[in-house]
Symmetry: C2
Subunit: 173 residues, 2 copies
Amino acid sequence: MRKVIFPVANSVDNYIATQDGGVDWLLSSDEIESILATMWKSVGAVVMGRNTYEFIVANGMDSYENVENYIFSRTLDPANHPKVEIVSEDPAVFVRELKEKDGGDIWMMGGAALARECFRAGLIDEVHLNIHPILLGSGAPLFLEIEQPIDLELIECKPLPHGCVALTYRVKR
Amino acid sequence: MRKVIFPVANSVDNYIATQDGGVDWLLSSDEIESILATMWKSVGAVVMGRNTYEFIVANGMDSYENVENYIFSRTLDPANHPKVEIVSEDPAVFVRELKEKDGGDIWMMGGAALARECFRAGLIDEVHLNIHPILLGSGAPLFLEIEQPIDLELIECKPLPHGCVALTYRVKR
Protein backbone atom coordinates (compact mmCIF):
# COMPACT_ATOMS: atom_id res chain seq x y z
CA MET A 1 0.00 0.00 0.00
CA ARG A 2 1.23 3.52 -0.79
CA LYS A 3 2.52 5.51 2.14
CA VAL A 4 1.01 8.87 3.01
CA ILE A 5 3.72 11.27 4.13
CA PHE A 6 3.17 14.65 5.76
CA PRO A 7 6.35 16.61 4.99
CA VAL A 8 6.69 20.07 6.47
CA ALA A 9 9.15 22.82 7.22
CA ASN A 10 8.15 24.39 10.49
CA SER A 11 9.30 26.87 13.09
CA VAL A 12 10.13 25.68 16.62
CA ASP A 13 6.71 26.98 17.66
CA ASN A 14 5.09 24.93 14.91
CA TYR A 15 4.04 27.47 12.34
CA ILE A 16 4.40 26.77 8.64
CA ALA A 17 3.98 30.35 7.46
CA THR A 18 3.55 33.79 8.94
CA GLN A 19 0.06 35.29 9.36
CA ASP A 20 0.21 36.71 5.83
CA GLY A 21 1.48 33.46 4.32
CA GLY A 22 5.12 34.51 4.38
CA VAL A 23 7.78 31.81 4.08
CA ASP A 24 10.87 33.96 3.61
CA TRP A 25 12.17 32.60 6.94
CA LEU A 26 12.64 29.17 5.31
CA LEU A 27 16.26 28.21 4.85
CA SER A 28 17.69 26.19 2.04
CA SER A 29 21.03 24.58 1.34
CA ASP A 30 22.56 22.14 -1.09
CA GLU A 31 22.10 19.37 1.48
CA ILE A 32 18.41 20.10 1.98
CA GLU A 33 17.87 20.31 -1.79
CA SER A 34 19.66 17.00 -2.21
CA ILE A 35 17.55 15.32 0.50
CA LEU A 36 14.37 16.68 -1.08
CA ALA A 37 15.44 15.53 -4.54
CA THR A 38 16.02 12.01 -3.21
CA MET A 39 12.68 12.01 -1.42
CA TRP A 40 10.84 13.21 -4.52
CA LYS A 41 11.98 10.12 -6.41
CA SER A 42 9.59 7.99 -4.36
CA VAL A 43 6.65 10.37 -4.64
CA GLY A 44 3.79 9.38 -6.92
CA ALA A 45 1.14 11.88 -5.91
CA VAL A 46 0.64 15.08 -4.00
CA VAL A 47 -2.61 16.02 -2.30
CA MET A 48 -3.43 19.46 -0.97
CA GLY A 49 -6.23 21.75 0.04
CA ARG A 50 -7.36 24.71 -2.03
CA ASN A 51 -5.44 27.25 0.08
CA THR A 52 -2.15 25.44 -0.38
CA TYR A 53 -2.81 25.07 -4.10
CA GLU A 54 -3.62 28.76 -4.47
CA PHE A 55 -0.45 29.56 -2.56
CA ILE A 56 1.74 27.60 -4.99
CA VAL A 57 -0.11 29.12 -7.97
CA ALA A 58 0.49 32.60 -6.52
CA ASN A 59 4.16 31.61 -6.39
CA GLY A 60 4.26 30.81 -10.10
CA MET A 61 3.68 27.04 -10.17
CA ASP A 62 0.67 25.36 -11.73
CA SER A 63 1.43 21.88 -10.37
CA TYR A 64 4.19 19.59 -9.12
CA GLU A 65 5.85 17.98 -12.12
CA ASN A 66 5.92 14.26 -12.89
CA VAL A 67 3.45 13.31 -10.13
CA GLU A 68 -0.32 13.17 -9.82
CA ASN A 69 -1.70 16.43 -8.35
CA TYR A 70 -4.97 16.24 -6.41
CA ILE A 71 -6.56 19.41 -5.05
CA PHE A 72 -9.46 19.16 -2.62
CA SER A 73 -12.03 21.82 -3.42
CA ARG A 74 -15.76 22.04 -3.86
CA THR A 75 -15.54 25.43 -5.53
CA LEU A 76 -12.71 25.38 -8.08
CA ASP A 77 -13.79 24.67 -11.66
CA PRO A 78 -11.71 21.78 -13.07
CA ALA A 79 -11.86 23.37 -16.53
CA ASN A 80 -9.73 26.24 -15.24
CA HIS A 81 -7.06 23.98 -13.74
CA PRO A 82 -6.00 21.52 -16.44
CA LYS A 83 -2.67 20.58 -14.84
CA VAL A 84 -4.26 19.18 -11.67
CA GLU A 85 -7.22 17.04 -10.68
CA ILE A 86 -9.83 18.89 -8.62
CA VAL A 87 -11.37 16.51 -6.12
CA SER A 88 -14.72 17.46 -4.59
CA GLU A 89 -15.29 14.31 -2.57
CA ASP A 90 -14.38 13.85 1.09
CA PRO A 91 -10.55 14.04 1.40
CA ALA A 92 -10.28 11.15 3.86
CA VAL A 93 -12.35 8.86 1.62
CA PHE A 94 -10.36 9.90 -1.44
CA VAL A 95 -6.96 9.45 0.24
CA ARG A 96 -7.98 6.04 1.58
CA GLU A 97 -8.85 4.90 -1.95
CA LEU A 98 -5.72 6.48 -3.40
CA LYS A 99 -3.53 4.56 -0.94
CA GLU A 100 -4.86 1.31 -2.31
CA LYS A 101 -4.01 2.12 -5.91
CA ASP A 102 -0.61 1.45 -7.42
CA GLY A 103 1.92 4.24 -7.33
CA GLY A 104 4.56 6.01 -5.32
CA ASP A 105 4.24 7.73 -1.98
CA ILE A 106 1.51 10.27 -1.42
CA TRP A 107 2.69 13.61 -0.10
CA MET A 108 0.28 15.75 1.86
CA MET A 109 1.42 19.28 1.09
CA GLY A 110 0.79 21.75 3.89
CA GLY A 111 -2.65 22.40 5.23
CA ALA A 112 -3.23 21.67 8.89
CA ALA A 113 -6.95 21.13 8.30
CA LEU A 114 -6.36 18.47 5.66
CA ALA A 115 -3.69 16.83 7.80
CA ARG A 116 -6.07 16.74 10.77
CA GLU A 117 -8.75 15.00 8.72
CA CYS A 118 -6.23 12.42 7.61
CA PHE A 119 -4.73 11.97 11.09
CA ARG A 120 -8.21 11.39 12.47
CA ALA A 121 -8.89 8.84 9.76
CA GLY A 122 -5.62 7.04 10.49
CA LEU A 123 -4.30 7.62 6.98
CA ILE A 124 -0.95 9.30 7.64
CA ASP A 125 2.02 6.95 7.80
CA GLU A 126 4.95 9.29 8.31
CA VAL A 127 5.58 12.86 9.46
CA HIS A 128 8.75 14.54 8.16
CA LEU A 129 9.62 17.74 9.98
CA ASN A 130 12.33 20.20 9.05
CA ILE A 131 12.43 22.30 12.20
CA HIS A 132 13.82 25.78 11.56
CA PRO A 133 15.67 27.71 14.28
CA ILE A 134 13.09 30.42 14.81
CA LEU A 135 10.06 31.21 16.94
CA LEU A 136 7.69 32.83 14.44
CA GLY A 137 5.37 33.89 17.24
CA SER A 138 2.21 33.54 15.19
CA GLY A 139 1.08 32.35 11.79
CA ALA A 140 -0.41 29.37 10.03
CA PRO A 141 -0.28 26.43 12.46
CA LEU A 142 1.25 23.09 11.58
CA PHE A 143 -1.12 21.08 13.79
CA LEU A 144 -4.73 21.60 14.80
CA GLU A 145 -6.25 19.98 17.87
CA ILE A 146 -7.20 16.33 17.59
CA GLU A 147 -9.24 14.32 20.05
CA GLN A 148 -6.91 11.37 20.64
CA PRO A 149 -3.15 11.26 21.12
CA ILE A 150 -1.17 9.62 18.33
CA ASP A 151 2.00 7.73 19.18
CA LEU A 152 4.96 8.23 16.89
CA GLU A 153 8.20 6.36 16.36
CA LEU A 154 11.32 8.37 15.64
CA ILE A 155 12.96 7.00 12.48
CA GLU A 156 15.60 9.65 11.93
CA CYS A 157 17.07 12.68 13.65
CA LYS A 158 19.45 14.64 11.49
CA PRO A 159 20.94 18.10 11.97
CA LEU A 160 20.95 20.11 8.74
CA PRO A 161 22.80 23.26 7.70
CA HIS A 162 21.75 26.63 9.20
CA GLY A 163 20.59 25.01 12.45
CA CYS A 164 17.69 23.14 10.90
CA VAL A 165 16.85 19.67 12.20
CA ALA A 166 15.14 16.92 10.21
CA LEU A 167 12.98 14.63 12.35
CA THR A 168 11.25 11.71 10.68
CA TYR A 169 8.47 9.90 12.51
CA ARG A 170 6.41 6.82 11.69
CA VAL A 171 2.84 6.89 12.95
CA LYS A 172 2.25 3.92 15.24
CA ARG A 173 -0.98 1.97 14.78
CA MET B 1 25.34 37.54 33.98
CA ARG B 2 23.23 34.50 34.87
CA LYS B 3 21.62 32.67 32.00
CA VAL B 4 17.86 32.18 31.90
CA ILE B 5 17.05 28.75 30.50
CA PHE B 6 13.61 27.54 29.44
CA PRO B 7 13.83 23.73 29.73
CA VAL B 8 10.81 21.71 28.63
CA ALA B 9 9.67 18.26 27.69
CA ASN B 10 7.12 18.60 24.93
CA SER B 11 5.10 16.60 22.45
CA VAL B 12 5.73 16.99 18.72
CA ASP B 13 2.65 19.23 18.62
CA ASN B 14 4.11 21.38 21.40
CA TYR B 15 2.03 20.51 24.42
CA ILE B 16 3.63 20.15 27.84
CA ALA B 17 0.70 18.38 29.52
CA THR B 18 -2.69 17.00 28.59
CA GLN B 19 -5.83 19.08 29.13
CA ASP B 20 -6.13 17.77 32.70
CA GLY B 21 -2.45 18.35 33.47
CA GLY B 22 -1.44 14.76 32.77
CA VAL B 23 2.23 14.03 32.13
CA ASP B 24 2.17 10.24 32.16
CA TRP B 25 3.23 10.31 28.48
CA LEU B 26 6.66 11.63 29.53
CA LEU B 27 9.44 9.12 29.05
CA SER B 28 12.48 8.71 31.21
CA SER B 29 15.70 6.76 30.96
CA ASP B 30 19.04 6.56 32.69
CA GLU B 31 20.52 8.76 29.96
CA ILE B 32 17.90 11.48 30.40
CA GLU B 33 18.27 11.36 34.19
CA SER B 34 22.02 11.66 33.81
CA ILE B 35 21.71 14.65 31.45
CA LEU B 36 19.30 16.34 33.85
CA ALA B 37 21.56 15.69 36.83
CA THR B 38 24.47 17.30 34.99
CA MET B 39 22.33 20.28 33.98
CA TRP B 40 21.08 20.77 37.55
CA LYS B 41 24.65 21.31 38.75
CA SER B 42 24.70 24.71 37.04
CA VAL B 43 21.25 25.79 38.23
CA GLY B 44 21.09 28.42 40.96
CA ALA B 45 17.43 29.35 40.88
CA VAL B 46 14.10 28.22 39.52
CA VAL B 47 11.26 30.58 38.72
CA MET B 48 7.71 29.52 38.04
CA GLY B 49 4.13 30.70 37.96
CA ARG B 50 1.55 29.73 40.54
CA ASN B 51 -0.01 27.01 38.39
CA THR B 52 3.30 25.23 37.89
CA TYR B 53 4.08 25.53 41.60
CA GLU B 54 0.70 24.13 42.57
CA PHE B 55 1.28 21.28 40.12
CA ILE B 56 4.56 20.28 41.75
CA VAL B 57 3.01 20.62 45.22
CA ALA B 58 0.13 18.37 44.13
CA ASN B 59 2.82 15.90 43.07
CA GLY B 60 4.35 15.81 46.53
CA MET B 61 7.18 18.36 46.27
CA ASP B 62 7.35 21.58 48.24
CA SER B 63 10.31 23.05 46.33
CA TYR B 64 13.36 22.17 44.25
CA GLU B 65 16.22 21.35 46.57
CA ASN B 66 19.49 23.26 46.84
CA VAL B 67 18.39 26.13 44.60
CA GLU B 68 16.47 29.36 45.12
CA ASN B 69 12.74 28.88 44.43
CA TYR B 70 10.77 31.92 43.23
CA ILE B 71 7.02 31.65 42.67
CA PHE B 72 5.18 34.46 40.91
CA SER B 73 1.83 35.01 42.58
CA ARG B 74 -0.20 37.91 43.85
CA THR B 75 -2.53 35.65 45.83
CA LEU B 76 -0.44 33.04 47.67
CA ASP B 77 0.36 33.89 51.29
CA PRO B 78 4.14 33.61 51.84
CA ALA B 79 3.53 32.44 55.41
CA ASN B 80 1.97 29.26 54.06
CA HIS B 81 4.90 28.50 51.74
CA PRO B 82 8.08 28.67 53.80
CA LYS B 83 10.25 26.62 51.41
CA VAL B 84 9.87 29.07 48.53
CA GLU B 85 9.86 32.82 47.97
CA ILE B 86 6.53 34.19 46.79
CA VAL B 87 7.14 37.09 44.40
CA SER B 88 4.29 39.51 43.80
CA GLU B 89 6.13 41.95 41.57
CA ASP B 90 6.17 41.89 37.77
CA PRO B 91 7.94 38.68 36.65
CA ALA B 92 9.93 40.34 33.86
CA VAL B 93 11.22 43.03 36.21
CA PHE B 94 12.08 40.45 38.85
CA VAL B 95 13.86 38.11 36.42
CA ARG B 96 15.84 41.00 34.93
CA GLU B 97 17.10 41.90 38.39
CA LEU B 98 17.75 38.28 39.29
CA LYS B 99 19.94 37.84 36.20
CA GLU B 100 22.24 40.58 37.43
CA LYS B 101 22.82 38.98 40.82
CA ASP B 102 25.46 36.37 41.45
CA GLY B 103 24.44 32.75 41.17
CA GLY B 104 23.92 29.83 38.86
CA ASP B 105 21.60 29.54 35.87
CA ILE B 106 17.95 30.46 36.25
CA TRP B 107 15.50 27.80 35.11
CA MET B 108 12.06 28.84 34.00
CA MET B 109 9.92 25.86 34.92
CA GLY B 110 6.92 25.32 32.66
CA GLY B 111 4.30 27.98 32.19
CA ALA B 112 3.79 29.30 28.68
CA ALA B 113 2.43 32.60 30.03
CA LEU B 114 5.52 33.28 32.14
CA ALA B 115 7.78 32.23 29.27
CA ARG B 116 5.96 34.60 26.91
CA GLU B 117 6.46 37.51 29.28
CA CYS B 118 10.15 36.75 29.47
CA PHE B 119 10.52 36.16 25.71
CA ARG B 120 8.88 39.53 25.09
CA ALA B 121 11.24 41.17 27.55
CA GLY B 122 14.27 39.56 25.91
CA LEU B 123 15.26 37.72 29.07
CA ILE B 124 15.47 34.10 27.91
CA ASP B 125 18.91 32.98 26.79
CA GLU B 126 18.39 29.32 25.95
CA VAL B 127 15.53 26.97 25.12
CA HIS B 128 16.08 23.28 25.87
CA LEU B 129 13.49 21.00 24.30
CA ASN B 130 13.07 17.31 24.90
CA ILE B 131 10.68 16.44 22.08
CA HIS B 132 8.69 13.29 22.81
CA PRO B 133 7.46 11.02 20.00
CA ILE B 134 3.76 11.72 20.38
CA LEU B 135 1.05 14.02 19.09
CA LEU B 136 -0.96 14.78 22.23
CA GLY B 137 -3.68 16.45 20.17
CA SER B 138 -4.56 19.01 22.81
CA GLY B 139 -3.43 20.19 26.22
CA ALA B 140 -1.33 22.86 27.87
CA PRO B 141 0.61 24.66 25.14
CA LEU B 142 4.36 25.15 25.25
CA PHE B 143 4.28 28.47 23.39
CA LEU B 144 1.76 31.28 23.27
CA GLU B 145 1.62 33.80 20.46
CA ILE B 146 4.19 36.57 20.49
CA GLU B 147 4.25 39.66 18.33
CA GLN B 148 7.75 39.44 16.91
CA PRO B 149 9.72 36.45 15.57
CA ILE B 150 12.70 35.38 17.64
CA ASP B 151 15.73 33.93 15.87
CA LEU B 152 17.37 30.94 17.50
CA GLU B 153 20.72 29.24 17.07
CA LEU B 154 20.85 25.46 17.33
CA ILE B 155 23.52 24.49 19.85
CA GLU B 156 22.84 20.79 20.13
CA CYS B 157 20.72 18.10 18.50
CA LYS B 158 20.84 14.78 20.30
CA PRO B 159 18.64 11.71 19.91
CA LEU B 160 17.68 10.22 23.28
CA PRO B 161 16.28 6.82 24.25
CA HIS B 162 12.64 6.01 23.43
CA GLY B 163 12.64 8.23 20.36
CA CYS B 164 13.02 11.48 22.28
CA VAL B 165 15.15 14.25 20.80
CA ALA B 166 16.98 16.94 22.76
CA LEU B 167 17.26 20.23 20.90
CA THR B 168 19.14 23.08 22.55
CA TYR B 169 18.80 26.59 21.17
CA ARG B 170 20.44 29.88 22.04
CA VAL B 171 18.25 32.94 21.63
CA LYS B 172 19.88 35.35 19.17
CA ARG B 173 19.93 39.02 20.11
